[in-house]
Structures are given as C-alpha cells and as structure tokens.
Amino acid sequence: MRKVDLIVIGAGPAGMSAARRAAQQGLDVLILDEQPAAGGQIYRNVGQANAKRSEILGKDFIHGQTLTKGLDHANIRHLKGAVVWQIEEGTRVSYTQNGIGAIVEGQRILLATGALERPMPVPGWTLPGVMTAGAAQILLKQSGIACQNAVLVGSGPLLYLIATQMVRAGVPPLAIVETQTKADLAKSMRHLVGALRGWSYLLKGLHMLWELRRAGIVRHVAATDVAIEGDQRAQAVVFITGKTAHRIECDTVLMHHGVVPNTQAARSIDIPHQWDAAQSCFVPDCDAAGRTAVSTVFIAGDGAGIGGAKAAALMGEIAALEIAHDLERLTKTDRDAATQDLHKLLATERSARPFIDAAYPPYAGAIAPADETIICRCEEVTAGDIRRFAGLGCLGPNQTKAFGRPGMGPCQGRYCGLSVSQILSATNDMSLDDTGYYRIRPPLKPVTLGELASMDVSASEG
C-alpha cells in the first residue's frame, strides 16, 4: 500500500492551495480528484482555457491558473479522475481510477470536496432540459457549450455571474426569474456595514447587474409559484410576480438558489454536523484550522461552510500549516506566525457573506414544496410522500428510507437530503438538529465488482 504524509481529496481552490503549502513544508502530498483536470468547480478546466473562453469566463476564473500551476511541485502527486469512495480509520482512502481500485494511506487526510448546488425542487424540475445553473457553467468552462433559449431561475450572485458569462458568450438568457424579495433586501441591510469590508464583492455584484442591464436582460424579481412545464422535456417556466402570472417559453431552464457544503465524505466517517441557520444548511464541526472530531482528518473550503473560492484557498493553507505542525515539520511559533495573517485575510473574505446570505435566501417555494413535487429524483419520492411518512411517525430522514426509499438511489441523497430534513422538520415541528440528516455509508459512489477485484491485487502489491 502506498503511504504519504497527506492525502488531499479534492483539487479545487482549497485542496490545491493546501497541497502547495504542505509540499513547501516538505510534506509528501497525494491529491485525489474525480475530475480529469485540476480546478474544482470554480476553476473547472482553467488550465485548458483558450483565449475566447478566458474572455467569456473573466479574470476571476483565469486567476485559478496560479493555483493549478502551484501543483507542479516535486512533493505533489495529483491523481486525475480518481473517485474516492471510502475512508477508514481516519487514514486509509479507497478510490477508483480508470476502473481500477486502490488504497492509499496518509498520516493526515484533508477533505476539500467543496459544495453542491442547493436542491431546488419545484414542479417539473426533473424534466430533461432543466439543469442546475452550475451545470450550464460547467458546460461552458469545460466544453465551450452554451445553453440556448435558457431561463435562469432562483437567486444569488452566482446566478448573475452565469448570466453575464452567457451574455459574453453571445448566448444571453431569455430572462432571469429571481425569487428573492424586497423584504429580504431590507433584512440584509443590517449586515451592510459589516459587508463593506468585503466591498470588492459588493462592487462586483453591482457591476454584474449593470452588465446585465446594458445587455437588455429581463429580470423578474420576487417570483413565486415557480414551475416548469413540458411533456418529454422542459418547454416553459411559469411563475407569479405580484398579481401577474407569467409564462416564458424556453428550451433550457437553469436553476440555482445557492450552494451548500458537500458533506458526504465527512458524514461517512461520522464527523458531527450542526445546522447553520444563516446559511440554511448543515456544516461539519471543525476548529479554526479545520480539524474534525476524527483528529487525523481536516476539512477546508466550501465543504466546511460556504465562503467562496478565496476563503477556500486560505482555509486550505491554514489546514496545511496545522498539519505540517502535527507532523513536526513546522514549530508552533512558525505555524502561528504564518497563520495569523491568513486568519485576518479570511475574516475579510467572509465579511460580505452575512449580507449576501440575507439578501439571497433560498426560494421558500422549494423549501416547502407542494405535495406533488418530486423530492428524491432517483426514487421519485414526492414532498407529499415525505409528509405522509412524518404522519406515520417518521421523525428522521433515515426512517423515511424504510417507507419509500428516498435517498437510496445512486445519488445517495445528494439532491434530496436537505429537502427531506427540512420537510420533516417543518411537518414534525422539530429543530433541524434534532431531525438530522441521512446516515451516509460507504461506498460514497457506486463501485463495481471489477473495481473491487482489481483492488486486492494493487493493495497487496504495496
């Protein structure tokens, strides 16, 4: 079995900057990421971007190249297309690469698995042609593919970013249907002064809105009763603003109302999680350096709580320095000297977050969906089903599995877990912490017999 000092899972900004910093401290680092190139979600395929794509995607995107270049270090090995499916004893990681399974052992493990888009269950969201807005952005970054005749639905800065990128690509969206309200904006105002420390984000937001306006993009705000119509595929988005009912015909619908930590790996090793009311999601318990209850396992980046790419990179560095200290490559004094400034920068990075979270809350209609709305896309379980299970005495998400199999399909609850917890919590009038979340068990991704069989060989070869 191969042994290294540090295994980093995820090659996004958090994982890349952690790997670089740890390597500089003399640690032997292995990065595993299921994608074929480094970058994570924000800097997807940044190393391969041509001039045209760079112009469309913007300066913030191209900045990612400094991080991907940083992986070029003698102490770093990056395994591309390596899907991690099990973590054991806080030190052993099983993964599959090119259909072959393998195990590697690390003295420390850093989970840098990032975020997922918050599930947005509305009627019709399972129709072909409906995708997450992030998926549309991935198509653009990775393949230079644009979605035509698209309507963007939801809320948040990422929605505006994707809209501006589509405008620059010459394929502007037909409209943006936004779910946040004036009341949300009013509530966010009390965070405005704090947010001024993160003024560059506010400025970027205003600039994006200006760019969209100049391009003549129609924005509908405070939309309610959002639904997608279509028979074999998405054909129109319907919604209400004020007293007006709208229907926009389209070919693609791109949904987004924020991102939430991808907690699958952390949950699979029983790291405790808490409900974060401000961000409306569960976050793993970890200290300021990212250390979890499993003392050899750290978490950095959006997987530890949503903070964006720059915060993710800073958290990665902080965790790397702590790990270097653990493994006696860095004295306590040197660690403290190095992390002090990073913590200050991190606080500034995070300062605009409370404002953004309050101004762009999740869409209420998708948090308490109508009964007939599908919640679990894999097993086609509806919101009404979940409420019925609650009526039968079901208190937590795990129990619902026995009634109707939600969360038991191949996605393992990634796009229904939060919804099921929130519907149960509301129906049973119980807190989210008491309601809890699905118990996640390995394998984190389906593994084939062939992959398992190949693994014994590579494991014993050492």
Binding site: N50, S143, R233, R377
Partner: protein
Amino acid sequence: MKTALPFREIDPVGNKVSITFGGIDLMLPLGENLAGALLVAGVMPFRNTPVSGAPRGPFCMMGACYDCLVQIDGMNVQACMLQVSEGMEITMPVVGGTADA
C-alpha cells in the same frame, strides 16, 4: 449551419470520431466531455427512470446526480464523467435493470 438545438458549441475544436447512441451513428469531438457532446448532438433523453419510466438528461454535470446515466459495455456509467473515445457504443440503461451498477 444554423441549428435549432438547445445546446451549441461556441468554439468548435478537435477532430470528430464516430460513436453510436442507441444504434444511431453520431460524430462527436474526440476527448470532449461525453454528456456535453451528446447534448450538442441533440441526444435527449439519456435514460428513462427505473421507477416511472420518466425521461431524464444531465442535471448537475459534476458527477453528483446520476441523471446522465447511460450504458456502455453493459455497465451503467455517468456520461458527465467520461470523455468521448472512438467507437463508443452507447445505449440507454435497461429499465428494470440495476440503475446503480
């Protein structure tokens, strides 16, 4: 050529290779993300659900939702996690078979 398809390549690159989807011949860019290339070629849906037979296509493009499952060499695989290679023979996953192999 002007196309009415919902997905369009803005900067076509790469040489194309032949593959089949459900027995139909398609020319797709070598090395391109398979889900993306199939979308541009007008393929939709990718599969029908085992529960109700409802049509589905790519949703997350990041390997998390499994709505892009297709069958290659008898195995169900995520199209968004693969690249186009010469001669791929792709079919829809068999409804009633295992969706999560």
